[in-house]
Symmetry: C2
Subunit: 399 residues, 2 copies
């Protein structure tokens, strides 16, 4: 069925930092991004954080000849597409962090390239605002798990899987390891023979004028949080011939395209010789690495559940206390005494009850979401342990 | 690879109506449900609306011998599982309807039966509180579309697909048609040769003492909103030998098990002879039916988007108006005049601004969710039209 061929894929990935009112030099950067993409004519251009629909339409229009098939935009006809919105994505009352409001998601595009089925995933996970006190760690681990599960369950018919995006995680972070171990995706930066760009492949670097030292925290030389990950599934193999990043400044003119560096990868997909299985069966060492990271994630989510429940209980107590206060104020207002004060305090008390009630409900839902992910992890853990106990059984051994 | 066999699957489906404080006779009904499931020993028991975790644990414990593999519970070892939470699910301020708070979802269980890959989906969609003025129609259509897409993208490796649950839609409703046309799932009630149970297969019937005439609205004889749907994908065929429903009263004792009737289906999966393709290629008539329902759904979501934007704009205006009022009150309070009245009105105004702001953000997110589904529908529509224009090309014709 599959023709003998070698497919070259030139991929562009960038978190565009295109947030109305907040991002600097948006119009200029979008224009130069469009020019650059038209000039380079990539096979796939995967952009994140294009918040402005106007800017999206502008890019779509500008790139319509070079990238005719656009849901964002790319050159190969899209066969199918679907989005999965992450169930947990920060807290609505953390207004200054804003992640909750934008609704982070993973998008899947299914492309057919001369009979090859290519699943392209593009995503952006919750930001890490403080590495020392990362209140979003559990949410990001759940997002990484949902992403891994989404890829796992939607790529069963794919020959090649490609994941690009801003994961907001360092390469050794728990969520990143979980994602790679469970999906088998490999990191283009680690795999490529030919890398050109910023030191250590960093995608947020101090030479970028939009990046402050505060953004980099304890990593003054930069951090690597944007990725090109890939795998070939059956009868094919994929390798990254070259990987480039921008290095803070646009080579030709002034300011960088974004506060993140762009990734540009040239990938080759070829038929694998029958004797060489490109995806070796899960050996004991891979399996124990998987089990270990699953266990770690499970524990982390357990801490998240405990914290969510604590906040729900605290907010519940405040609600009850506020209700009690309301009754007291009513009694005072009716009985005379401090009537004026009672009436003045009535409305803030109602606000307190409603606000605390909303926080309580939110954290209960958060705990439920964390528990759901924990249950899935537990199930996978149990099955992996069973398979490990059975020795070197195949991955999906029938019971 | 596939052994020659015939698999019999006895499936039980019930919306359990197990809502703490609200549902009547919970403990007694759960006990009798457990007894019944133990007695009948189904292959799969798929339950919805078990809101009480305590009741879930009770059933799990009670059924642990008959249904040892439980994530809810069933008898075949589960290979994999994943959940997808619907992005739109009603309005948080419709407290009396409660759907928003419970977070509706679809769960997938992957089972291996002697080499057969069986994907079992179980779900519960948003309730319809008024058929005449159904403010949740767009949400339910989006849920049906997300469900259809989830099944479409996660079942590519499955031999047999089974979907059970409370869809809260009548058989001819838009969402139901969309689901069936896009996935190719068939309705056990329509297909079976041997049906026993309530008139017209209804799953909410007037003879059930927990169902009021108000619940049934303009359908005093009952409504059919719970389903067993199935399809075989490749080299297999599946048929429903018998389908039974309960009929309002538990045959042995007093009250019914729930306000919904249970569905009990006996399905057979067999190898299909090579010459008989069980899933015929999409012919022109199937394709035009699909295109028509996709178009209808697209239009319906367009109405939903307009309404969501109207509410967002309205709430935005109220927010601005409230802010203006706040400034005015500050001026009055500082300037003397109606100082006391100004101070008293300050807190309700803050409440108004915050409340209206929240409503505005919520409806903007709602509009975005609807637009996302619309974009997916549009993409499928375009591709289906292209294929139709090309004549009788195969379903996934390369461009």
């Amino acid at each position: 069925m599959k023709p003998t061929f070698s497919v070259r894929l030139r991929v562009f990935n960038l978190n565009c930092w295109d947030i109305p009112y907040l991002s600097k030099h948006r119009a200029d950067r979008m224009k130069r991004l469009g020019d650059f993409l038209n000039l380079e004519s990539f096979d796939l251009a995967l952009l994140q954080e294009v918040w402005s629909e106007q800017d999206f339409q502008y890019l779509r229009q500008k790139l319509s000849l070079t990238y005719p098939d656009a849901h964002y935009f790319r050159r190969h006809p899209i066969q199918e597409l679907i989005q999965h919105v992450y169930t947990l994505n920060g807290y609505p009352y953390m207004v200054c962090h804003g992640d909750w409001f934008c609704g982070k998601a993973v998008g899947l595009l299914v492309l057919h390239l001369n009979g090859l089925v290519l699943n392209v995933y593009v995503t952006h996970l919750h930001a890490e605002y403080s590495r020392q006190k990362d209140i979003y760690l559990a949410h990001r681990v759940v997002q990484a798990w949902e992403l891994a599960q989404f890829i796992h369950h939607t790529s069963k018919n794919a020959d090649v899987v490609l994941l690009c995006g801003d994961l907001n995680m360092h390469p050794k972070d728990l969520g990143c390891c979980l994602l790679k171990e469970w999906t088998g995706l490999r990191d283009a930066y680690v795999e490529t023979q030919d890398f050109k760009g910023s030191e250590d492949g960093c995608t947020m670097v101090p030479t970028n004028c939009y990046v402050s030292q505060q953004d980099l925290g304890p990593f003054p030389h930069g951090i690597r949080i944007d990725y090109v990950l890939y795998k070939a599934v059956s009868g094919f193999y994929i390798y990254c011939k070259t990987l480039k990043t921008t290095t803070g400044c646009d080579p030709r003119n002034g300011t960088p395209l974004s506060d993140h560096e762009a990734l540009m990868a040239t990938l080759y997909v070829k038929h694998s010789p029958p004797q060489e299985d490109p995806s070796p069966a899960h050996g004991p060492s891979e399996r124990s690495a998987l089990i270990s990271v699953l266990r770690e994630a499970w524990t982390e989510l357990g801490l998240g559940v405990a914290q969510a429940r604590w906040w729900a209980a605290f907010a519940g107590c405040v609600t009850v206390w506020g209700l009690f206060l309301l009754v007291l104020l009513c009694v005072l207002a009716v009985g005379g005494g401090a009537r004026e004060v009672a009436i003045m305090l009535w409305t803030p008390s109602v606000g307190l009850v409603l606000g605390a009630g909303a926080v309580c409900i939110f954290h209960r839902q958060e705990a439920r979401g964390l528990c759901r992910a924990q249950a899935e992890l537990q199930h996978v853990l149990r099955r992996e342990r069973e398979t490990q106990d059975l020795g070197s059984e195949p991955h999906l051994a029938p019971s």
